[in-house]
């Protein structure tokens, strides 16, 4: 049974993940509401591939990342890594699991301890987890550093002596030293210059080819995501609105939000004719999201039904998922209409509630 799951295609499976953050208020610090950072997200990543996760800031990309790593607790849902539910593990089992799932943070300036030399930063976890025998530790670290484009004499230096690109290499080496299967890259290149960005992206791809790594690549830079990912998930306000292979999603996006997002990418060609869909307003607060489809307040294809019924997560084409009423089946449309009619009746009965939600 266990073997069967191990050989399955998906290294990581996320099912209906929900993460709410409580809002404390009042005199006794009671919970007065919830910030719905992640509100029912499902996706999967095949072994040895890269999934890109895009969306505006505040849409819950990083929260998903942190929850997958169990750096924080979930509210509901399942995260299966190699077929094992991460949240069902005991302390001891989790500790054994940790080296397999690593993370590279956005800001290489604040994610390295200023008081440790590079050799120690990279080697600390290796020693702690007993990845290699102590006698080989030194050579092993040198080896990992070489792979990431660092020199052996860098080992005794401190982080402040390095430039941004070099620091990001150190972060990658630190993650890599534990021989992980999966690396979560949380905006690893957004703090770097264009030419350095290219170096880091190339390094990440090379390592993937050599070692068969699996990445979840979180970024708001769509051109970088298109370049590096095999599949792409688009998020909006805690929900995933579309998920498909990179080529498919970029060539014909289904969801209106994805369309608008992709049309906003600036193209470095002055003669390029823009056909831009400018989204009005800004992202609503996740503490009090709009009713129905969360995107309906900014959507240019908004229909009556969108205001009341949330669209279902559907596989429109094989491997192309989308949550939008425009791409629902007849059966789903009927269900949505029913929800709409019920919701309308309810709001007629209590008109004040609508104003509060509005």
């Amino acid at each position: 049974m266990a073997d069967e799951i191990k050989t399955s295609d998906n290294l990581l499976e996320v099912r209906n993940l929900v993460k709410y953050f409580p809002i404390k208020g009042g005199f006794f610090g009671r919970t007065v509401g919830h910030v719905k950072a992640v509100d029912g997200v499902s996706f999967h990543i095949r072994r040895g591939t890269t999934m890109g996760l895009v969306g505006e800031s505040g849409c819950g990309k990083s929260t998903i990342g942190r929850t997958i790593l169990r750096l924080q607790d979930k509210t509901a849902g399942e995260v299966l890594f190699n077929g094992v539910d991460i949240f069902a593990l005991s302390r001891e089992e989790l500790r054994k699991m940790r080296p397999k799932i690593q993370i590279i943070f956005q800001d290489p300036y604040s994610s390295l301890s200023p008081r440790l030399p590079i050799g120690e930063i990279i080697g600390e976890a290796v020693r702690e987890h007993g990845i290699v025998p102590n006698s080989e530790l030194n050579d092993y670290i040198t080896d990992v550093m070489r792979k990431c484009g660092l020199q052996e004499y860098h080992k005794d230096r401190y982080p402040h002596e390095f430039s941004g690109g070099q620091r990001q290499r150190i972060c990658i080496a630190r993650a890599l030293a534990l021989k992980p299967d999966f690396i979560l890259c949380d905006e690893p290149v957004s703090a770097l210059d264009v030419s350095i960005q290219a170096q880091i992206i190339n390094l990440l791809r090379e390592l993937q080819k050599d070692m068969g790594l699996t990445y979840l690549f979180i970024s708001h830079d769509l051109s970088v995501v298109e370049h590096i990912s095999d599949t792409v998930g688009v998020m909006y306000l805690g929900n995933m609105v579309e998920f498909a292979e990179t080529e498919k999603i970029f060539s014909h996006p289904l969801h209106p939000y994805t369309e608008a997002l992709f049309s906003a990418i600036p193209v470095p060609d002055p003669n390029y004719k823009m056909d831009r869909i400018v989204l009005e307003g800004s992202i609503p607060s996740p503490a009090n999201p709009p009713s129905g489809c969360k995107f309906h307040t900014r959507c240019r294809k908004c229909m009556e039904v969108c205001k009341y019924a949330a669209p279902e997560w559907t596989e429109v084409e094989p491997g192309h998922f989308c949550a939008c009423h425009l791409h629902n089946s007849a059966e789903q449309n009927a269900r949505a209409e029913k929800t709409m009619n019920e919701a309308r009746k309810a709001t007629k009965a209590t008109p004040t509630k609508e104003a509060a939600n509005g």
């Binding site: 030419s195 290219a198 990418i265 193209v267 470095p268 002055p270 400018v278 800004s282």
Partner: protein
């Protein structure tokens, strides 16, 4: 030698440098702090009356304890009236220092303009900003030149309401003695101008109550308060999401045509530049390596650095197996080499590259490049 190139200095060495620097900067400060400077000293003539600003061989140095940093080292370009000039380059290439030199907001006494001129067109007359005393400069800032900063959260004061902060700008630069009500009316008009629908409400809000895009709109409103002739936009969209970025770029474009001012647009995003700019200036390590119209730069990039920069950015719809990455890194700003700054990273070197820094070569009337590959041949060696 290895240690020296890393910028390692002994304490004694550092003290010696700092003492020397103080001598130099004190002389500059003394020059600046004179009172009642006659106007004739900073009055100058524009080379072309159709230009809003002309940077002429500008050298801005920082006298640090590690040595002199040549942040801007001989930069010459102009901003024509009613046009947008984009300045591109990696961080540390001197693009922000160039704009701060124009605003006279350099970190003094360490930062000093040591050579060159910045001619500012004030309609009838022209001032050389580098020689303009502080009292006069106060008048120019806001009224003629103003700046939109990168991070809207740090550019706004968190303890004052939006309305108060905008009122302050208008009152300070006001020459018509507006009443309180008139000032408020103008503030609300400005907020409407930058596309804030709920302007009366925002007037009473604090910065933390607004989203990033709205804050950037407020900062833009502040920059526009006195109808400046030149707006410096220093990475105005870097901190924003793509969808909000699209809104802000749209807004800037509309405002430019409405107010007929010039924009100096500083960014490292080539896509944004292509969309906004009429002219593009590419900077590397404190110098301009290439300048021309947007078509020149994007369709016929000439300098190896520009070509490398374009190739290293992934473009949606263009699949490449591996991104091009410029090898090596920017040279140490304290001891710059005496040959072409880009030579050590360049893959298209020719023999002459070992000589002095290449001078500017014209490929066409608008397109200029500093590279030996084009020396006297008019761009026959294409890479």
């Amino acid at each position: 030698m290895a240690k020296k190139s890393d910028g390692y200095l002994s304490a004694r060495e550092s003290r010696r440098i700092s003492k020397e620097n103080r001598k130099i900067t004190n002389a500059y400060e003394k020059q600046r702090k004179r009172k009642n400077v006659p106007e004739s000293e900073y009055l100058t003539q524009m080379r072309d009356p159709n230009n809003a600003v002309e940077f002429d061989d500008l050298h801005t140095y920082f006298f640090t304890d590690n040595g002199v940093v040549h942040s801007v080292d001989g930069v010459t370009f102009e901003v024509p009236i009613g046009k947008t000039v984009g300045v591109v380059g990696e961080s540390g290439c001197g693009k922000s220092v160039t704009s701060l030199s124009l605003m006279q907001l350099l970190q003094r006494p360490q930062g000093q303009i040591v050579q060159g001129a910045i001619r500012l067109n004030l309609g009838g007359k022209a001032y050389d900003v580098t020689k303009t005393p502080n009292e006069v400069m106060k008048d120019l800032r806001g009224n003629y030149v103003s700046m939109i900063f990168q991070e809207p959260m740090t550019a706004l004061n968190p303890v004052f309401r939006i309305g108060e902060q905008l009122n302050e700008v208008i009152e300070l630069h006001d020459k018509e003695n507006k009443t309180e009500a008139q000032v408020k009316a103008r503030t609300i008009e400005l907020l409407k101008l930058v596309g804030i629908a709920n302007s009366e409400g925002v007037y009473k809000m604090y910065p933390h109550e607004l989203s990033g895009g709205m804050r950037q709109r407020v900062v833009i409103a502040m920059a526009l308060a006195c109808n400046p002739k030149i707006i410096i936009a220093d990475e105005p969209t870097t901190a924003l999401d793509v969808t909000i970025q699209a809104q802000i770029l749209d807004l800037l474009r509309q405002l430019k045509s409405k107010l007929n001012s010039s924009i100096m647009f500083i960014t490292h995003d080539l896509g944004v530049i292509a969309e906004m700019a009429d002219y593009v200036v590419v900077m590397y390590a404190g110098r301009i390596v290439e300048k021309g119209t947007a078509e020149d730069i994007f369709l016929h990039p000439a300098h190896p650095y520009t070509i490398g920069l374009m190739a290293s950015k992934p473009v949606v719809g263009k699949q490449v197996d591996e991104l091009y990455s410029i090898p090596g890194k920017v040279p140490n700003p304290v001891n710059m080499p005496d040959y072409c700054y880009f030579r050590d990273r360049c893959e298209m070197c020719v023999e002459q590259c070992c000589g002095d820094y290449p001078h500017e070569i014209s490929l066409s009337d608008t397109h200029k490049v500093s590279c030996y590959r084009y020396d006297g041949k008019g761009g026959t060696t294409n890479g």
